[in-house]
Amino acid sequence: MSYKVLYYVNQFFGQVGGEDKAGMAPVMKDEKVGPALGFDQLMGEEAEVVGTIICGDNYFNENNEEAVKFIIDAVSEKNPDLVVAGPAFNAGRYGMACAGVAKVVADELNIPVITGMYGENPGLEIARTKSLVVETNDSAAGMKDALAKMADLAKKMLKGEKLGYPEDEGYFAQGKRLTVFSDKRGSERAVEMLLARFKGEEFKSELPMPVFDRVAPAAAIKDLSKAKIALVTTGGIVPNGNPDRIQSASAQKWGKYNIAGKDSLEGEFYTIHGGYDPVYANELPDRVAPLDMLRKFQKEGLIGEVYEYFYTTTGTGTSVGNAITFGKEIGKELKEAGVDAAILTST
């Protein structure tokens, strides 16, 4: 029996067009388009690509609800054994879309998903927890290799074979910690680990602590009086009513609000942060995000200006992956807006 595979690509790999077509709404093609064709050939007799969904990257990210609904309907109709998305290489929006597809297909439809990405793709953090993500090159020049690896793993997944370790098979660890039997009891492994440390040999901790990389400090502002400064907070300060419904904990998104012409946040903003007693911040939100003081310094001429948007999210319980994504997205906007420096406040 041959398995059924449904393929997802963006407007570019779906051969519709470039950036100008990034806003296209999703369509379902019954034929194999772009990488779907190559993937289909690699699968040989074992599986067949029964259709290709093509969706604009901007559309997916900006009209998420509609896109998700389309995916659910399309996948339910074709009822495939596996969904393949990408590979997205280092394309950020495409990667986020592939991650979005993985999330909805895995969570809502319980169908396995495989995709491919470069290690720095912002979609990786979500995609790896919802699907199998093959490690790829950073550009489409690596298409051939990526598809070959994806096809190999896809065959194993379809047949329900046990996958090898991520580092051996070339996929990103999903972060799933499985309890298994070892051929040695724990104490013996501990003694061996200690001996390895004494001898300076390599050893593998069975419970690695989270690692934090560092970024070199950016150069200081030469002349503050001309600088445009942005205010960012993880303290959950939002406009009254929380119009964007930012979560009080384990935030899935951030918000930005226009503060042009406002002297402070008092009265119009409050906190939705679930990690502390909100009384004091609600009394005066500037205790968390000190817009009033920045305005004061602006008037005094100490700083040039305060950037017209204020950025906010909640810091409590928010996954490292999301925090990275938020930082990347916010940083990009600040850079494009010509912001010179930022103040981030955390509670």
Binding site: G275, Y276, D277, T316, G317
Partner: protein, 132 residues
């Protein structure tokens, strides 16, 4: 000696004879949140917010000792209560509170609380001796 602690609890078996009680009308998690708010205001976190086994996380009741006065906001207290709340939520995500054995949990929580008070008392006495 003036008592320097407050018991934050939702355990109905905890009586005033043990000391000042801040009774929380709510769940285990509500007790932790109350403790968090007090720690954020500068109360010392005297006893660890969670127990020493998974089982005790399914308890409907919990008692935690905090300092009676606002003294200083210490990172270690904030981090401990934050991670305690996080551990509680993570460990009980798929579990029901074990109400069937509520009375037994209340009893054991009370006993463990008494031990915590004793342990705290020993440390306080040592401190006073240092001063003398």
């Amino acid at each position: 000696m003036e008592q320097d602690f407050v018991i934050v609890t939702n355990n109905p078996q905890v009586g005033k004879d043990l000391g000042k009680v801040e009774l929380v009308d709510g769940s285990f998690e509500d007790v932790l949140i109350k403790v968090r708010d007090l720690v954020h205001q500068g109360h010392q976190l005297i006893s660890h917010p969670i127990g020493a086994s998974m089982r005790m996380l399914f308890s409907p009741y919990r008692s935690v000792l905090v300092g009676a006065e606002r003294t200083q906001i210490k990172e270690v207290y904030s981090l401990t209560i934050e991670s305690g709340i996080d551990t509680f939520r993570r460990s009980t995500a798929n579990r029901n509170v074990d109400y069937v054995n509520a009375d037994d949990y209340a009893r054991i929580d009370l006993e463990l609380l008494k031990e915590a008070i004793k342990e705290h008392g020993i440390i306080q006495r040592e401190k006073i001796q240092e001063v003398q």
